[in-house]
């Protein structure tokens, strides 16, 4: 971070370190800019565009999470254009994804007076739950494509590269190589993807089963065969004879 520079956010003069983003500068000044895909410990890609702000002199709105402050920059965080984009993005999300386990996004809904049923023609994304390993389930009907899981699986943390994307555009989904089950992939079950998932699309299997009403004992017996199979595999690999 370099020398402090002076910018204006919502008529307020703010000192910010050169090289900091608009989001960081606003946070320091106590001005709240909403975010969805942004995570402090993941590479910011400017995907969700909820953090867009109006920067004087710019043709389009600018994503606060990645755009760096410039000396003399004049920023408006709540213009009509900004509000329209944020509200519409939220409404489109609600018509695409199951947000029932995303309380932070639901809060934004109230703040921006979004109408969850704005798009009656909308076809939501509703792939089936993938339950292919004993550690976590993948419910991509809840996935908002924030990319955090793909990033922590790759260069942002684990360097495992078990997941990437299938499809493109609206049909994009997180996927393993040729959609193989997770245990056949390079996944090491570190659980970091589960930890960064903001919407409950990735969930510990035990939590998932508990939520469905299974008792701990039932869960033990349900997953026993999986555990035993793994144990057998390990024994065989140690003792091929």
């Amino acid at each position: 971070m370099g020398e402090p520079i002076s910018i204006t956010i919502d008529q307020q003069t703010v000192q910010a370190a050169a090289g900091s983003t608009i989001l960081e500068a606003a946070r320091q000044a106590g001005i709240h800019i909403p975010t969805i895909c942004y995570h402090d410990y993941c590479t910011a890609n400017g995907l969700c565009r909820i953090c867009v702000v109006d920067v004087e002199g710019s043709r389009t709105l600018q994503p606060a999470c990645v755009v760096q402050v410039q000396d003399g920059m004049v920023i408006h965080t709540r213009t009509e254009r900004v509000i329209r984009s944020r509200r519409t993005i939220l409404e489109m999300l609600a018509s695409s994804v199951n947000l029932s386990e995303a309380p932070e996004i639901q809060d934004l809904f109230n703040q921006y007076h979004s109408d969850a049923s704005r798009f009656p023609d909308a076809e939501p994304r509703h792939p089936a739950v993938i339950d292919d390993n004993p550690m976590y389930i993948r419910d991509y009907a809840k996935c908002i494509l924030c990319w955090r899981c793909v990033q922590v699986c790759a260069e942002d943390a684990q360097f495992t590269f078990a997941i990437n994307f299938s499809g493109r555009g609206y049909e994009t989904q997180i996927s393993t190589f040729y959609e193989i089950p997770m245990p056949e992939s390079t996944c090491v079950f570190c659980g970091q993807c589960v930890g960064v998932c903001p919407t409950g699309a990735l969930k510990p299997k035990r939590q998932w089963l508990l939520e469905m009403g299974y008792t701990p004992d039932e869960i033990m017996s349900l997953t026993r065969s999986q555990r035993q199979r793994r144990k057998r595999r390990e024994e065989i690999s140690q003792n091929p004879a």
């Binding site: 890609n45 389009t60 984009s85 489109m92 909308a122 555009g169 996927s175 040729y178 390079t186």
Partner: protein, 572 residues
């Protein structure tokens, strides 16, 4: 699967291995050529040879619509489904081919044929057009099923018109101008002249000529070159953007097929001017013939010493590699194109940093459209002052316009900047098809805007069109007569963007889909009161907040249709 013979692929992979990930698309093309699709073991072998994570290999296969992870027919037919071909009956054609296929194999084994609807194939002057195994067929509705599937369909030949022939001087001869003929026609003299001129002077000459980019963004070419030339670093690249995919555009295809060396000459001069040693030509996957023409041209130029070490006995060393896309409109976006060359999904990057400092492989890069580069030898050969004799002070030179749709003579027209639209449409292209009159024209393709009767007198320059609220874009003009349902055209444009959105940023990923869903209902005639505000909100959210130019223009045509023809979007 067990009997899959990987040896032919492994042989190819030996050559690619040292290149690493950048060879991913070429390797996937090879695998698909060998096996007809990309079987899982082949993808695995490719990932291991190029050191690319397997999940990433699959991610790349899945991104590009011409790569198939599942078996498909031995023969693949792509039927263009975008406005110009739709006006000529592509939808009926598609159904007929499907029907014929079912007749051929009612119960027996399915005929080994895959028939797909495709985005604009860049053959709009030959509508309705199809590709059979990548080979273009013109006016496919007038040909028999047997001719179509056996590859005996009518081959398109260039249709040229206009009042000047500067960029198209060597086009429309009925064949590709090869090296010897190009030299006879004065080819590579500009390169010879350039190599005897300090590179700074070349950039000054391009700036003085006032050349601006012809791909759609109209950025001053000389400024771009200067910025890359001044950028720190020894390794720099020149990239020719031949990913022409804007619906209605076919100018770059004609230039590449008819006069490939003029483009090469432009690229080599650009490389010399900015200090690059390597150039890339990225050609869209659907353009097989332009690819073959450019490939031969590069080989011949290398053989003759116009590429390689010490070109024409100078100190300048430069070579060119050709890359094929694989079905992704987004790769025409410059940073998405870099990602694609680097062997990744074609996701556009955040800007800044800009390509002139952080481009291909993170190095300073000049990326120019085919037509832009074709202007370069013209400017260098005769000088900026001569070049400026045509056109207007703010839009110097000549421009290629791709006219298609309901016109008497669809084709590629070269005119000086500044001629009125009606001159191009009525005097040169013969006007609207007989018995009908002008309703509207789409300027700039899917990412463009509609012109109405009121625009017929507009002069075709950057400044006049800007004032009229019309984009010049890449020079597309698709004409619609009074019988055409513009709602259907808007639906097609909406479908195009929903198919081609990369899915990276939310406004475009979901906005193109929501726009399509609303347009599907409106095109059926079921228009609701709230649709107006729905389309406006989705449209402006994409325009204001999307990450790249695709999303920022994905609502442009529909918003302009709402402005000029509001009744189409309101309940009866």
């Amino acid at each position: 699967m067990a009997d899959l013979d990987l040896s032919p692929l492994l042989q190819r992979l030996e050559g690619y291995r040292p290149l690493g990930r950048t060879a991913l698309l070429p390797a996937l093309h090879d695998a698909q050529n060998i096996y007809g699709y990309i079987p899982q073991p082949a993808a695995e072998a490719i990932g291991r040879a190029l050191n690319v994570p397997l999940a990433d290999v699959y991610g790349v296969i899945e991104f590009y619509s011409l790569f198939y992870s599942q078996p498909i027919g031995k023969t693949v037919i792509h039927v263009c489904n975008d406005p110009a071909c739709a006006l000529a009956g592509s939808e009926t054609l598609f159904k007929q081919i499907r029907f014929q296929q079912e007749m051929v194999s009612p119960n027996g084994p399915p005929s080994s044929l895959t028939i797909e609807m495709a985005p604009c194939l860049g053959l709009c002057e030959h509508a309705p057009a199809i590709l059979v195994q990548g080979q273009p067929v013109a006016r496919a509705n007038r040909q028999s099923w047997q001719d179509l599937v056996s590859g005996k369909g009518e081959r398109p030949s260039s249709v040229l018109g206009g009042t000047v022939s500067i960029l198209t001087a060597n086009c429309g001869l009925g064949h590709t101008v090869e090296l010897s003929e190009y030299l006879d026609l004065g080819g590579y003299q500009a390169l010879r002249k350039a190599l005897n001129t300090p590179s700074r002077h070349i950039i000054e000459e391009i700036k003085a000529a006032g050349l601006v980019g012809r791909g759609g963004a109209a950025f001053p070419t000389g400024v771009k070159w200067e910025s890359a030339a001044n950028a720190p670093g020894d390794i720099k690249y020149v990239v020719c953007n031949a990913d022409e995919a804007e619906p209605g555009t076919f100018k770059d295809r004609v230039l590449m097929e008819d006069d490939p060396h003029s483009i090469l000459e432009g690229i080599i001069i650009a490389g010399y001017a900015v200090g690059a040693k390597k150039g890339y030509i990225y050609i869209r996957g659907e353009y097989l013939l332009p690819y073959e023409a450019m490939k031969k041209a590069v080989e011949d130029a290398r053989e003759a010493g116009f590429l390689g070490n010490n070109i024409l006995d100078s100190d300048f060393t430069f070579d060119i590699e050709i890359r094929r896309g694989a079905g992704a409109y987004i790769c025409g976006e410059e940073t998405a194109l870099f990602e694609s060359i680097e062997g990744k999904r074609g996701f556009p990057r955040l800007k800044p940093p800009f390509p002139t400092t952080h481009g291909l492989f993170g190095k300073p890069t000049v990326i120019n459209n085919v037509e832009t580069l074709a202007n370069v030898p013209v400017i260098i050969r005769k000088g900026a002052a001569h070049y400026r004799k045509l056109g207007t002070p703010k839009s110097p030179g000549s421009k290629l316009f791709c006219l298609s749709g309901d016109v008497v003579r669809p084709g590629l027209y070269e005119v000086p900047f500044g001629v009125p639209f009606h001159h191009l449409l009525y005097d040169l292209a013969g006007g609207v098809r007989p018995g009908h009159h002008f309703q509207a024209a789409l300027f700039g393709g899917a990412a463009g805007a509609f012109a109405t009767q009121d625009h017929l007198n507009v002069r075709l320059t950057f400044e006049d069109l800007k004032e009229a609220g019309l984009p010049l874009g890449s020079g597309v003009i698709t004409v619609f007569d009074e019988t055409r349902d513009l709602r259907d055209i808007c639906l097609r444009l909406a479908r195009f963007f929903a198919e081609e959105s990369c899915g990276k940023c939310y406004p475009c990923q979901m906005g193109t889909q929501r726009q399509l869903e609303v347009m599907e209902r409106i095109a059926r005639g079921d228009v609701r009161q709230e649709d107006w505000q729905r389309l406006q909100d989705v449209g402006w959210t994409m325009t204001d907040s999307s990450l790249c130019g695709l999303g920022q223009t994905a609502a442009s045509a529909i918003l302009s249709a709402m402005k000029h023809f509001p009744h189409l979007f309101q309940p009866a």
